[in-house]
Symmetry: C2
Subunit: 596 residues, 2 copies
């Protein structure tokens, strides 16, 4: 059974307690979002997600989307839920009030995002894509475009898409063929076919704003000849009312492994009218503004699914009676003990729990930086925050989605045969989560982004925004009486990360394939060190709270237990990736192609 209650206590912990000393400060402009307000928003979001989105999750998977006379229909209940979602202001929680948004900090909005990803990943994609498109428009659109489109997207009345992929090119956008012909009125006619377009068509909004990558007639070949166009489904009149249907049509819905309630469309643009966004041939840059936001969002999808997978597995493990505890009967009145008594079931539950808490802690850290990057009054802080976000974006995207999928698989395993049956609703988590490791740049591409771009950038400056606080922390707390052993273990992993970084810097400079061969393991190692740092800090705070007395003992004790599990069980194998990283590319590249 899919069960969910937002982990508000932990969300508040990572928002309010864990990162106070991260140097990103308290950002101006968020004065309205104090502790009470944050708590109220999280409570309200939980209600909506638990009571409205979750009940549609499994039925949506079973029903899927359908295309009827060229119109895409979402599953029963989705349009109504979307209306509630927008009326509650959830579509624009972190959007600038200038465009009608609520102006909440990203750090808070990401927690709400986690909830919708937990309870209905397919649903979340519709407003999620709109949010991404707004980021791109805000950064690169003209004043007229922004004033006209952003308010209508912020309130959820219109939605957005990103139309990049064509059947022959996904990762390698340089190959794309869609064309845009300039017209005398300053508009363009866009022609081409796109695939894998999330929310490409649906029945939730009156209009859809497609951001389409295409080539101008005189464009240079490759990635330097790509421009971005705004192509609405309906051509709006000046007053915002809808005019003619544009020649932008969903021709089919993809049949996917999961995420079936999200309409992934094949789109045909057949001389569709559009307008240039940003400069000619600079479309990739504009699209990347959106992609980076989306990449963090996709990481949170992994966390979201991981959380509901954990909660559902816990529910089952407490409910399902099989066998007896190895340390003596625990449920003498029942025919057997609940399976949560078994160490191996604990191993799975604790693994999921540690992944979720670790990812949530890192999310809060990164999204605090996201806020500081945009709104800190201090230029030095803004710079450092920007470096940190740049570094961590691929880590959040790839690591969180790998771990979220792993958690979903563990939830199936906890359920045994019942996890493999559709009616239980558990296998859906794994099928849904799986796409997050692929879209917005497959995880291998994220790893390449990390080692190929983010590390060497400005002589490693991005990395320093992460290494400095960690090494400082290790130095300051080496002898901590409560968490000394954790610090020692973290020190070891951090050392492995430093050596790995040196290996990549040195070997990769001469031979980029050496960096490529190390990339994936390196991303995981870095991510685990980041989680380990957060867990050490969390355990330290918990020890202090318990020492000074708190009415929330259970929470802080559980935090220490989870941290201890992470250091005992999860960090060592991640640290051993050091061996794989430094083994170099030779064994990976040795085999001639035709020997495969």
């Amino acid at each position: 059974m899919q069960v969910y209650e937002a982990p508000i206590r932990d969300m508040r912990f990572v928002l309010d307690e864990l990162h106070e000393d991260d140097g990103f400060g308290n950002v101006e402009g968020f004065e309205d979002f104090d502790g009470d307000m944050t708590a109220a928003i999280l409570e309200e979001a939980n209600k909506l997600c638990r009571d409205v989105l979750l009940p549609l999750n499994w039925p949506g998977d079973q029903q899927g989307c359908r295309i009827e006379n060229g119109v895409v229909r979402t599953p029963d209940g989705f349009p109504e839920a979307y209306r509630q979602f927008c009326e509650g202001g959830w579509a624009s929680l972190s959007v600038d009030p200038k465009w009608g948004g609520q102006g909440a900090p990203h750090a808070l909005a990401k927690m709400v995002e986690e909830m919708s990803c937990s309870t209905n990943l397919s649903f979340g994609l519709y407003p999620g894509l709109t949010g991404g498109a707004m980021v791109s428009l805000e950064a690169y659109g003209s004043e007229d475009q922004k004033n006209f489109y952003l308010p209508r997207m912020a309130n959820g009345e219109w939605s957005g898409t990103m139309c990049l992929t064509e059947s022959h090119c996904g990762t390698d956008l340089g190959l794309l063929r869609t064309k845009a012909e300039p017209q005398e009125d300053g508009s363009y006619l866009v022609t081409g076919n796109k695939i894998f377009i999330s929310a490409g068509d649906h029945d939730l909004t009156d209009n859809i704003v497609h951001l389409v990558l295409a080539r101008l007639p005189d464009a240079p070949a490759g990635v330097k000849g790509i421009s971005m166009f705004l192509v609405p489904k309906y051509l709006p009149k000046d007053d915002g009312s809808l005019g003619d249907r544009n020649a932008a049509q969903a021709t089919a819905i993809e049949h996917k492994m999961g995420l079936k309630a999200s309409a992934t469309c094949q789109m045909s643009f057949d001389g569709a009218k559009g307008w240039l966004v940003g400069k000619p041939n600079k479309g990739l840059e504009a699209m990347f503004a959106m992609m980076n936001t989306e990449r963090v969002a996709v990481g949170i999808q992994g966390l979201g699914v991981g959380e509901i997978a954990y909660q559902s597995a816990v529910y089952y493990a407490k409910d399902r009676l099989q066998g007896r505890s190895l340390s003596g009967v625990k449920n003498p009145d029942g025919p057997a003990d609940p399976i949560i008594v078994h160490p191996d079931v604990r191993r799975m539950l604790m693994t999921m729990r540690a992944y979720n808490e670790g990812c949530r802690a890192v999310t809060a850290w990164v999204s605090r930086a996201l806020d500081a990057e945009h709104a800190s009054p201090e230029p030095e802080v803004r710079e450092r925050a920007k470096d940190f976000v740049a570094l961590m974006t691929p880590v959040v995207k790839a690591l969180f989605t790998d771990l979220g999928h792993e958690s979903a698989q563990l939830a199936i395993q906890v359920h045994g045969g019942h996890g493999y049956i559709q009616e239980t609703g558990i296998e859906q988590f794994a099928r849904d989560a799986r796409i997050a490791q692929i879209y917005e740049g497959a995880n291998g591409i994220q790893a390449l982004d990390l080692v190929g771009r983010k590390l060497p950038d400005r002589m490693g400056r991005n990395l320093r925004s992460f290494f400095h606080p960690v090494s400082q922390y290790l130095e300051d707390n080496a002898g901590d009486e409560n968490i000394g052993k954790m610090i020692g273990s973290l020190q070891q992993s951090f050392g492995a990360l430093q050596l790995s970084t040196g290996h990549i810097a040195q070997k990769g400079l001469k031979d980029p394939e050496e960096a490529g061969a190390a990339a994936y393991d390196y991303l995981h190692l870095l991510g685990f060190v980041a989680m380990g740092y957060c867990f050490a800090k969390a355990a330290q705070i918990a020890h202090l709270k318990l020492a000074e007395g708190t009415d929330d003992e259970a929470f802080y004790k559980a935090k220490i237990a989870t941290a201890q599990f992470f250091f005992d069980r999860l960090l060592p194998p991640a640290t051993a990736r050091f061996m794989a990283i430094t083994s170099g590319k030779s064994s990976m590249m040795a085999m001639p192609e035709d020997a495969f």
Copy 2:
């Protein structure tokens, strides 16, 4: 695209070259199965699997099974394919000629099994279950039962099932409720409901022989009161022709994540006529004879899916053009290079390849022992073989299925978005493979079987059948000029395994939860040491062959490259499980139940 060609060269390597010195000898009675005969059988099996079973694999997943007026229909083409399968004698390859089988060695039959698991896992379950039921009947049935049923099952005319699970009990069979009432004619009336019954009903055979676990009226509670009954779908007359329909009915087909062409049934036994197999209240023992065979078979399912996932990913990686090689353009005439040039794609392909070759090598080792256990002329060898099979059965089941599923997931990742689309046929591998980690005892149960039963059994004697040859090999080859580094690395992992074994033996004796907490990581560590041992031997053989000259250079060079990748990239993280194992149970069991 699902592509497949049986890896016959590697199969012949593990059958003929790799394990010559394993001490299990050349078993008598298999003289007909010399090298030429083996090659011919593998070639024929490849043709059937590639040309008949594979084309039905994806359509079978899409169509699934259906229940029409109480009768289960398999997907189009399955009945005809089953007929071909049986006519070719494949249903009884390793069955005793006494019952009409071909009498081939298990070692050979397991390779053929791998092929059918690769090309159509759902299909393979129908004859697979029959094979398991025959093992149980052969060991525990009366002479009359054997003479009557086994020949009809060996030729595939009738099929078999194992009916264990009820909705409230899977792992904990002590809870089962199905009842058997003795009748005056010596038969029993069986009444109860079973779920998750593979091949519970279908249209491939005239009759189905259900082996049903149930309780006699005076049976003691728990596992000591379970008996096994033979309950045919149609009550056969003395001449084998079919009489009345028995009250054993499929009431529904489960809706599963995958394996959709395999009819997994809910079964209702409503006073169905049956006969006791073996002794009263000893049904679990009889069922376990079948379960152990099935567990090895399920491990091979993991390997089979891993192999086709690998081949399909290689096909795509050579075909798909995206981006350019980091070491210079490789496909100057094309718009981009094939993605197999990218190190991270290589990482995925090599991982799958190493898993498959490692598992196949261990399969050959274990199934040679299976043959020796049953047919070696030397009692000492039979004993040692039995110990080794007992030890390795849970390892083969759990490790191979974990790795097979991981390979299927990697194949999706290599395919990017196209891997997530159903039409490509790749995501099916992951959905199909997933069940193998669960059924026939979830992998966590296998790990408990390993540390709780197989290790302590007779003061660790099972383990010695594995530790002795490995430590002897390490001692003999420490200074090997070709594979010295591999030996060093294996030595380290083996040391970690020895220390882990000591930890479990010592701590687990006082506190079984300590053994339970270590079990899963220990199983993986042991399995990786077994694969490492096989890879070291394989690389050594390959070096010798290359030195003395061979017309198969490419094969032996590739074997060395794969072994090197295994030691560089895969063994170190597995070895690091030592840290998790020895961290003990405390962090796993610390959290009070209500803190989850």
